[in-house]
């Protein structure tokens, strides 16, 4: 137990900082990066302090009768670590942004939105009230929309922002349906009370089922799962620091978090875990295929994020909550590292196309090393954090007997090794490209976050002992495991063989094709994968069809209303003309009406009297 007002502080500091950034931007624009970094650092400290009490959290409550029901925060093991990831990575990204973004316009907007983003993400995971969660969920969506479209005068960026917003909104419909269904069934928004009520059988099965799949839909939108993954690759139009923020610290973790949080609630729903497993497995494999053929460095990293998020979903589906959340943390670290390295490279060579890069390793040795560490972690090479968590995922799948999805996952691992190592070779080795001539080492304030993250990517798995203990205290997993236990388990398990097999296969493909300098022109399936398996075209065709139908309906309606309108005009004009002829000031006519009036009055009197 600790003073629970710290929970409020870790949300209030970044969000208040976002508001103050506007003030700083108006008074002393030069101080914006420093101010934002200080706020970020304070937030990071607060989230780390919160970790200490995450095992038995206190509860911070503002009884807020009315709009948001009850504003309550209760960061348990599950949420405190995601909040800490958001806070710490956000802080490093803010440090990196100071130099990376220094020549951009609209920095006040940038820093305010990044801080709001971090604050909203921390709020999203630490609250135990679903309605408050939904509020922060939408705030996160809003921030991502604004930051993806940061360069709003670039039409691609504006479109990408809108696409992200609309696609995630489609998922949000499901999430809101889920939340409302749960509220109607139980009369409370508190997730823990809802879980207790469901355990007591208070929620009818169809309602629980509807809510479960609604949550899955919302998570698929936020965490970019098939078929709602299309927004994430396009979100690469954002500045790279924002990509790192979205991919590692905030946004995409929200969906995985929501599924992990509601796992105790929905795990008994028929078909739910199967659906989560398959959504994850299919997403992982499809996205890995797309990443294999991506030429844009950031796009490749984006597909790899989709793929890794698929792993996390897959992990929850097969019951490996610890493995999934552990992979989330590992992924957050190495993906932030990869993105920040990619940003540093793109900053120097002014292109995102990997074909135009090459041989940058000599020019940027530190970044080369950091990127290599990130790639090895992504590929799941032993010792790096990605290896341990991925291995745990495989072990969970084996344990639960989901063999077919596991095959998908292992195939994904092979592809991951291929595309990640290949990207390293394409960017940093070989002959120096024309674009890289003028490249030079990044400034220290950009290198520091990279080095810290690289250290994290190598060592973060060592926290498994504390992390699993916290999750165990929270009651989400059966037993805690220590580091020694983890190593022991990993070495003995069959899953290790799968991991090594994937590494070996992937490595063999990479090194055997490395000499072939000119890659064969992609054809058939490869071409299709390179174009993202036609999801975009399909959605475009779908929208097109919908527009056509709507257009036909509207045009029919239009012609009908046109006729109605014409008839109305005809009648009105005719009536008007008739009336006008009665009022032309003709004395005789006026008298005729006068007499007619008198006659009518007399007639009425006669009828009444008689």
């Amino acid at each position: 137990m600790m003073n629970s007002s710290i929970y409020m502080a870790q949300i209030a500091v970044p969000i208040g900082g976002a508001a103050l950034t506007l003030l700083v931007g108006a008074i002393k624009p030069r101080l914006r990066p420093a101010f934002a970094f200080l706020v970020g650092a304070a937030t990071a400290c607060l989230t780390i302090i919160t970790l200490a009490g995450a095992g038995s959290p206190g509860r911070f409550v503002i009884p807020w009768q009315g709009v948001l029901n009850e504003f309550s925060l209760s960061p348990d093991g599950l949420s405190a670590y995601i909040a800490a990831a958001a806070g710490v990575l956000g802080c490093l990204i803010l440090l990196y942004s100071a130099r990376y973004m220094e020549h951009e316009e609209g920095l006040t907007r940038y820093y305010a939105l990044v801080l709001l983003f971090i604050g909203a993400m921390i709020g999203l995971v630490t609250t135990d009230n679903l309605l408050v969660m939904y509020f922060f969920w939408e705030t996160v969506g809003l921030c991502s929309y604004s930051l993806i479209g940061f360069n709003y005068d670039n039409p691609d960026a504006a479109k990408a922002g809108l696409k992200a917003f609309i696609t995630t909104k489609i998922g949000d419909v499901g999430l809101l349906t889920g939340i409302m269904t749960l509220y109607v069934s139980t009369g409370t928004f508190n997730i823990f009370e809802i879980i207790d009520a469901a355990a007591g059988g208070a929620i009818p099965a169809p309602a629980l089922s509807l809510a479960g799949f609604g949550f899955l839909m919302g998570a698929a939108g936020k965490s970019a799962q098939v078929p709602l993954h299309v927004w994430l690759p396009d979100a690469m139009e954002a500045p790279t620091s924002v990509s790192a923020l979205i991919h590692a610290a905030t946004m995409v973790n929200a969906g995985v978090y929501a599924i992990a949080r509601t796992y105790p609630l929905f795990s008994e729903v028929a078909g739910w875990t199967t659906a989560v497993t398959w959504v994850g497995a299919i997403t992982a494999l499809l996205a890995a295929c797309m990443a294999l053929y991506a030429r844009d460095l950031k796009r490749m990293l984006a597909y790899s994020t989709v793929s890794q998020l698929g792993y996390m979903m897959f992990g929850i589906g097969v019951g490996g909550l610890l493995a999934s959340q552990f992979h989330l943390l590992s992924h957050a670290i190495f993906k932030a590292l990869l993105f920040l390295c990619a940003g540093a490279v793109i900053h120097e060579v002014h292109t995102r196309n990997m074909d135009e890069m090459g041989g940058l390793g000599r020019k940027m040795p530190v970044i080369r090393t950091c990127y290599l560490i990130g790639v090895l972690a992504l590929a799941g090479v032993p010792i790096f954090n990605g290896f341990w968590s991925k291995d745990m995922l495989f072990a969970s799948a084996l344990h639960s007997g989901n063999i077919v999805p596991l095959v998908f996952a292992v195939a994904t691992a092979v592809l991951t090794v291929i595309y990640s190592l290949r990207s390293y070779f394409r960017v940093f080795t070989g002959e120096l490209s024309a674009a890289g001539e003028k490249a030079h080492q990044s400034p220290p304030s950009m290198l520091l976050p990279l080095v810290l993250l690289a250290v994290g990517a190598v060592t973060s798995w060592l926290i498994i002992g504390i992390y699993s203990a916290t999750l165990h205290q929270t009651g989400l997993i059966g037993e805690a495991i220590s580091v020694g236990h983890l190593i022991h388990e990993t070495v003995q398990s069959t899953a290790l063989l799968l991991s090594l097999l994937a590494l070996f296969l992937g490595g063999a493909v990479v090194f055997s094709t490395r000499k072939a300098k000119t890659a064969a022109a992609p054809s058939g399936l490869a071409l299709w994968a390179g174009k993202g398996f036609g999801f975009d075209q399909f959605y475009l065709a779908l929208l097109n069809g919908a527009y056509q139908v709507a257009g036909a309906v509207i045009s029919t309606y239009d012609s009908i209303s046109n006729w109605v309108g014409k008839a109305a005009i005809f009648l009105t004009v005719g009536f008007g003309k008739t009336l006008r002829n009665q009022n032309i000031g003709d004395l005789n006519k006026n008298l005729l009406w006068l007499v007619s009036g008198i006659v009518i009055i007399i007639a009425i009197v006669c009828v009444k009297r008689g």
Binding site: G585, D586, L587, N588, L591, V595
Partner: protein, 104 residues
């Protein structure tokens, strides 16, 4: 009882005279003719008073009213004639088609 027969004939005469007068007012464009129509209408009214007075057993009252109506009608006709003369002086016309202009 001749009275009943008279009543029908008288009423017919009143309606015919009034109808002619109204017809004259509504259809004629010459203001003198309209005034004539108006005079015919008042004649029908006068006749109606006399007939009514006789019919309801108060012939004195009816005839008195008839005299009053004749007097008033004469005065109204005189005023009307003087207006027509003035209008003629102003517009140079007695046809209502030609004196539609509202502003003097």
């Amino acid at each position: 009882m001749n009275l009943a027969v008279n009543w029908v004939w008288m009423l017919t005469a009143i309606v015919v005279i009034a109808g002619l007068g109204i017809f004259c007012i509504v259809t004629r464009r010459n203001m003198f003719r309209m005034l004539m129509g108006f005079t015919m209408l008042t004649k029908a009214v006068t006749l109606a008073f006399v007939t009514g007075g006789t019919l309801w057993g108060q012939p004195g009252l009816g005839q008195t009213l008839a005299i009053i109506v004749i007097v008033i009608e004469a005065a109204v006709t005189a005023v009307g004639l003087s207006m027509i003369v003035n209008i003629y002086r102003h517009y140079g016309a007695v046809n209502t088609n030609q004196i539609k202009r509202l502003r003097g």
